[in-house]
């Protein structure tokens, strides 16, 4: 348990650190990119569905897999489209 907490606290600092100097121009793509990254809940959704025993679990899990996939692929694609505009 304490291991997980350690990871959590360290990740907080890393999260603060990596975006602390971002310019205004990149606020929107950064938000959108971070949005895609929390789509990692897809991993949780896959794990839970992969070991689901009851129909209820299966249904909840599959809906979660679907929604998380939309979050992931949509998030990365939309971010890329934004950033594409910036290239010279």
């Amino acid at each position: 348990m304490i291991d997980l907490l350690t990871i959590f606290v360290l990740a907080v600092f890393v999260g603060f650190e990596v975006v602390s100097k971002v310019s205004t121009i990149l606020h929107t793509p950064l938000m959108s990119g971070a949005n895609a990254i929390h789509g990692v809940i897809l991993v949780g959704a896959i794990l839970i569905t992969g070991s689901a025993e009851s129909t209820l679990e299966l249904v909840l899990g599959l809906v979660a897999v679907f929604l998380a996939t939309v979050n992931v692929v949509g998030g990365f694609v939309v971010t890329d489209r934004m950033l594409e505009m910036f290239k010279r």
Binding site: L30, I37, I41, A45, L62, V70
Partner: protein, 452 residues
């Protein structure tokens, strides 16, 4: 072992992705690295964690891809903010569902796991319903103004208190019904939380909800004892919080003021409806004004993007430059519907980076600017934000275009801006109004300037 190693690889990719996304040079690589990390994580989870239902999972993923990619591909650049809100919302919902499913799979756990479960369900539901409301606002399917329900504040407090009580109760007596109830209360809380946020503040609410979803994912990582979910969720939660603060700072407001400001600033917007005179000009007048100026600043806003006039404005600016006029663009941090949104839209129209100036670059020299051209912007040049403490947008930094030698205000109509506030600048004697569709006006202006 291998699984943990793969998750570590994915975590590192996510850190590098966020790092890359914060610098203009590496942003696109950053996004690729993030996507790569995600692929590694998902394939690892599938190969090692799936005992059964494998086919069902693949079908659900395929459906998600079929829905997600076309939506992301076809969305107009002007509608990006609401798309991000929507993607954020489904992520929050997914987190809440994962925690619910895990609860039904393993109902008997330790207190810490129950805490993580109730937090995931609560934050995930808030994030989902809040994001849906921001989507509706930005898509203008509902009013963009702050919505103040009668006793809305009391309702929000009641929902907040009952959600905390339900969390405590569910932890003491793990019960599926209570957890569902918590999800429902969370949904209500999300709606009540976002309804009073209006106008230019909506994007900041999205950013905050984004951070919320990150936290929900991190909490779900505890539920599943999965380090990757904890790391990635926390990264997004932390960076999202910082980003939200940066955005609020860019608007010169505190976060508390943005989220709860509307409760106090009750609809004071209902001003006297007397007829006031404005000065409107013809295309030729404006062309002469611009063609013989030395120094012009263009302040574009969301209206420019809606009219798809980015290219037209760039052509006009090039023409003016050929005549020796010095032109720059004043880009407000919240121009468009999201911080940095206007930069994206202008970059799409091949406007060179160097011409884009921020507030601090423009305002000090504004008195020597001959003409400030406001295209489809409103709130970001509203002197009320600077001078009238009663104004709902008071405190937001603006371009002081009222201090330029003259102002050309291109507007479709006298309708007020996104924040719904009347603009004193329109009645300023220095201001010439040019009514009409932005693209149409700009094209005519270009032709008129060429004639000079």
């Amino acid at each position: 072992m291998t699984v943990q190693l793969m998750y570590l690889v994915a975590s590192v990719c996510f850190v590098l992705a966020l790092k890359g996304l914060s610098s203009p040079k590496y942003a696109r690589y950053g996004n690729f690295i993030g996507a790569f990390g995600m692929l590694v994580a998902v394939v690892t989870a599938y190969l090692h964690g799936v005992v059964h239902n494998g086919l069902w999972i693949l079908i659900a993923i395929a459906l998600g891809v079929v829905v997600g990619i076309p939506a992301a591909r076809s969305v107009k650049m002007t509608a990006i903010p609401q798309m991000v809100a929507l993607f954020n919302g489904v992520g929050g919902a997914a987190a809440a569902l994962v925690a619910l499913a895990e609860f039904f799979a393993v109902p008997d756990t330790t207190v810490m796991f129950r805490l993580a479960t109730v937090l995931t369900v609560l934050i995930g539901s808030v994030s989902f319903s809040g994001s849906v409301v921001t989507f509706l606002k930005l898509q203008e399917l509902m009013t963009t103004r702050p919505v103040l329900l009668p006793a809305g504040q009391q309702l929000a407090i009641a929902a907040g208190v009952s959600s905390v009580a339900l969390c405590a109760l569910t932890m003491a007596v793990p019960n599926g019904f209570l957890l569902w109830l918590l999800a429902v209360v969370g949904l209500a809380l999300g709606v009540l939380f976002v309804l009073p946020v209006g106008g230019a503040d909506v994007p900041i609410a999205i950013s905050l909800l984004n951070a919320f979803t990150g936290l929900a994912v991190a909490a779900s990582g505890y539920v599943l004892a999965n380090t990757l979910l904890i790391v990635a969720g926390t990264l997004v939660g932390a960076s999202g919080t910082i980003l939200t603060r940066l955005m609020a700072q860019a608007m010169g407001r505190s976060l508390a003021n943005i989220l709860f400001g509307a409760f106090k600033a009750t609809a004071v917007v209902a001003q006297g409806e007397e007829q006031r005179t404005v000065k409107s000009g013809t295309v030729e007048d404006v062309a002469i004004l611009l063609g013989y100026a030395n120094n012009v600043v263009v302040v574009p806003g969301y209206g420019l993007a809606v009219a798809q006039a980015q290219h037209a404005v760039r052509e006009l600016v090039s023409q003016l430059e050929r005549r020796g006029v010095a032109v720059s663009y004043g880009i407000h941090p919240v121009a468009g519907r999201m911080p940095g949104h206007m930069n994206v839209l202008l970059a799409e129209a091949d406007v060179p980076y160097e011409q884009l100036k921020e507030l601090d670059d423009v305002n000090p020299g504004i008195t020597s600017v001959d003409v400030a051209v406001v295209v489809g912007a409103n709130d970001v040049v509203n002197p009320g934000a600077r001078d009238e403490p009663a104004s709902p947008i008071y405190g937001m930094p603006i371009f002081d275009v009222d201090r330029a030698k003259s102002v050309v205000f291109m507007k479709r109509s006298m309708r007020p801006g996104f924040a719904g506030v009347d603009n004193e600048l329109l009645y300023n004697p220095k201001t010439t109004l040019l009514f009409g569709d932005a693209k149409d006006s700009l094209t005519k202006l270009l032709a008129a300037v060429k004639q000079l």
